[in-house]
């Protein structure tokens, strides 16, 4: 309100610099605004999202998977789900998309400063948390990072380049699990909640960040509560059908809240206050 921001719903063209195939379903698009000045001035925060436009397909909200600590380009990781994302997967480097944003309440990195982080992710849910993880690693004074990442099958494991770095980083512990093994997999099999018991984290000095399929989020939130995490220190980010991104169209309603402006980042404490906390 104080900013008196106004919205004209006009996307800005952005050029695909590079496309990284994370797995058969997920691609990461490295993008820069076509207008160089605008691209340099562009800022965002982890947890926020962009409205991405494709010709004739309309718009869809996509979270940043990149960190603002690495400026110049942004990265949006997209899972093929509907007609817009399918069309996006067919694009090549050099093609353009339209971008509006950034929108949404972010993860407040200042609050995470000095705390240990427990990151619990499933599937494409790692994308917005990757933004936080890499942001922390880029910033001095971060605490210990523990990353638990669940995938359906080993070939679905996304962000392998990052995972490789995390697994070799002295301040990071990174565990992977899969729902079903494939030949050559010798890691854990089972839900990501199963990994929670195996890691050493001190709930008092840690903040948990959770993202993944709705059922997984619900299970992990409960498990973290039982581990002794305060509700305020359990953060999650939500996926919703969004049209405006500015809290008007109401497609992303969640009880009395609108995910696009009151979220997408919510603490468990905030969710508990809602009458219908549907994930």
């Amino acid at each position: 309100m104080s900013l008196m921001r106004s919205e004209d719903y006009l996307p800005r063209p952005a050029v695909i610099q590079k496309i990284i195939a994370e797995n058969s379903q997920i691609k990461t698009f490295v993008l820069a605004l076509a207008d160089q000045q605008a691209n340099q001035a562009f800022t965002y925060r982890p947890g926020q999202f962009m409205m991405v436009s494709l010709p004739h397909r309309g718009e869809a909200p996509i979270s940043f998977s990149s960190t603002p600590t690495r400026p110049g380009t942004i990265e949006l990781s997209v899972r093929r789900a509907g007609s817009l994302t399918a069309a996006m997967h067919a694009l090549q480097a050099g093609d353009q998309v339209g971008l509006r944003g950034p929108y949404g309440r972010p993860f407040v990195m200042e609050d995470l400063q000095g705390r240990d982080l427990l990151v619990v992710a499933g599937g494409i849910g790692l994308a917005p948390l990757r933004s936080v993880i890499n942001g922390c690693l880029d910033t001095p004074g971060h605490g210990k990072l523990t990353i638990l990442y669940g995938s359906r099958v080993p070939s679905d494991i996304a962000f392998r380049g990052d995972i490789d770095i995390w697994q070799h980083h002295p301040a990071v512990t990174c565990h992977l699990t899969v729902d079903a093994p494939e030949p050559g997999w010798d890691g854990p099999v089972g839900l990501v909640t199963g990994l929670l018991g195996q890691v050493k984290v001190d709930p008092a000095s840690s903040t948990a960040l959770v993202c993944g399929p709705p059922v997984m989020i619900a299970a992990v939130l409960t498990a973290l509560g039982k581990m002794g995490f305060a509700d305020e220190e359990i953060l999650t980010t939500m996926e919703r059908h969004m049209k405006c991104g500015i809290g008007v169209c109401r497609h992303c309603h969640l009880d009395s809240k609108l995910v696009c402006v009151d979220g997408p980042v919510f603490s468990r404490a905030q969710l508990k206050k809602l009458q219908m906390d549907r994930l």
Binding site: M4, G82, G98, P213, R240, K243, D255, S256
Partner: protein, 350 residues
């Protein structure tokens, strides 16, 4: 007429109404309720004052929502070319508009839309239509069959919120000034107005009392609001409503405060098209369904709940008053008998 004399009320003889509106039309588009040849009374743009009779006795079927927030509007056009993928605004500056004969419920609805579209981030498309508009209200001397604005405290008489407010006193209108735009308008055409006498204000007060007694529906909105706040509305109420709702969204489209919308692209050729915004409704299953098929509002019952909770709980929490203005239009349009009056009644029962 001196400025400090402008806080009092004025009288416009009915004989001068048309003359006044003719002057108003010189600088503005005029929108007022008109009965067409099919006997439908609708707010529409008046091009010729002498050809169309303005109807100030019926309830307009449409309200003025669609003028500020059209059922479908172009947000932008897009084109893909060697230049890339570009969006352009279709630059049609909206004309300054005077809305005349707006009933208290519809007027309150505009104030609510102002909060939705301009309270946080300012929606340019709404703002441009709204900023040059003047609202001239008409108090309701006799509530219509499905009205219940007294229950939602949005009528039948309003004291604020308008630019000018008219009250029909028989052969003359009592005219009150609300906001500065109304004052300017009255000042500009002061030749038609005379100061109101004490008896005029007394007559208006008497009419407002009679209007309060004229409601035909018993609607206890406060009771429903309290029971919703306390979580006392049983699941069976929602179940019954969801079985009965026919999913037509007529309630949302006709509702002066329902502002949910969707945005879609309409191709005009292989490389160009329009981005459109059109009305949507929270009761539709596709409203919340994600591209992958997951729907956080999985059941009809929750979609129905959302509609009524939004109007009678969330907005009460947020703005201190419900966003139902008691116009009763949904009562007339609902197929399944799941309109808000029905809900309020069911929610109030033990």
């Amino acid at each position: 007429m001196r400025d400090d004399a402008m806080d009092q009320a004025f009288i416009l003889a009915k004989d001068h109404l048309k003359s006044f509106l003719r002057k108003v039309k010189k600088g503005h588009r005029l929108v007022a309720p008109v009965t067409n040849q099919h006997n439908d009374t609708l707010f529409c743009t008046i091009n010729h004052l002498d050809r169309v009779p303005i109807n100030l006795t019926e309830q307009a079927q449409n309200g003025i929502k669609s003028f500020l927030f059209p059922q479908q509007e172009t947000l932008a056009t897009y084109a893909v070319s060697a230049d890339g993928y570009r969006f352009n605004r279709t630059d049609v500056r909206p004309e300054p508009t005077v809305y005349f004969g707006v009933r208290p419920c519809d007027l309150m609805a505009v104030l609510y839309m102002d909060v939705v579209f301009m309270g946080g981030v300012k929606d340019q498309h709404y703002l441009e239509k709204r900023q040059d508009s003047v609202l001239i209200g008409l108090n309701c001397n006799a509530p219509f069959a499905n009205c219940f604005c007294s229950a939602t405290k949005s009528g039948p008489f309003l004291e604020t919120g308008f630019d000018l407010m008219f009250t029909d006193l028989g052969d003359r209108f009592l005219v009150e000034i609300g906001r500065p735009k109304g004052r300017e308008m009255l000042q500009a055409w002061q030749q038609f107005f005379t100061p109101a006498e004490a008896e005029d204000t007394r007559a208006q007060y008497q009419l407002s009392l009679e209007a309060m007694a004229g409601f035909r529906l018993d609607v206890y909105a406060d009771q429903a609001i309290q029971r919703l706040a306390a979580g006392l509305v049983p699941e069976s109420v929602w179940e019954q409503l969801s079985l009965r709702c026919q999913d037509c969204a007529g309630c949302a489209y006709i509702c002066p405060t329902c502002t949910c919308f969707t945005i879609v692209d309409r191709p005009a050729g292989p490389d160009c098209g329009e981005r459109l915004r059109s009305w949507d409704a929270c009761t539709f299953a596709g409203f919340t369904r994600l591209a992958g098929g997951h729907n956080p509002v999985a059941h009809k019952i929750h979609a129905i709940q959302t509609r009524f909770l939004h109007k009678l709980k969330y907005d009460v929490d947020k703005h201190g008053r419900p966003s139902c203005v008691g116009c009763g239009r949904c009562v007339g349009i609902c197929f399944g008998g799941t309109d808000i009056v029905r809900f309020i009644k069911m929610a109030g029962e033990d």
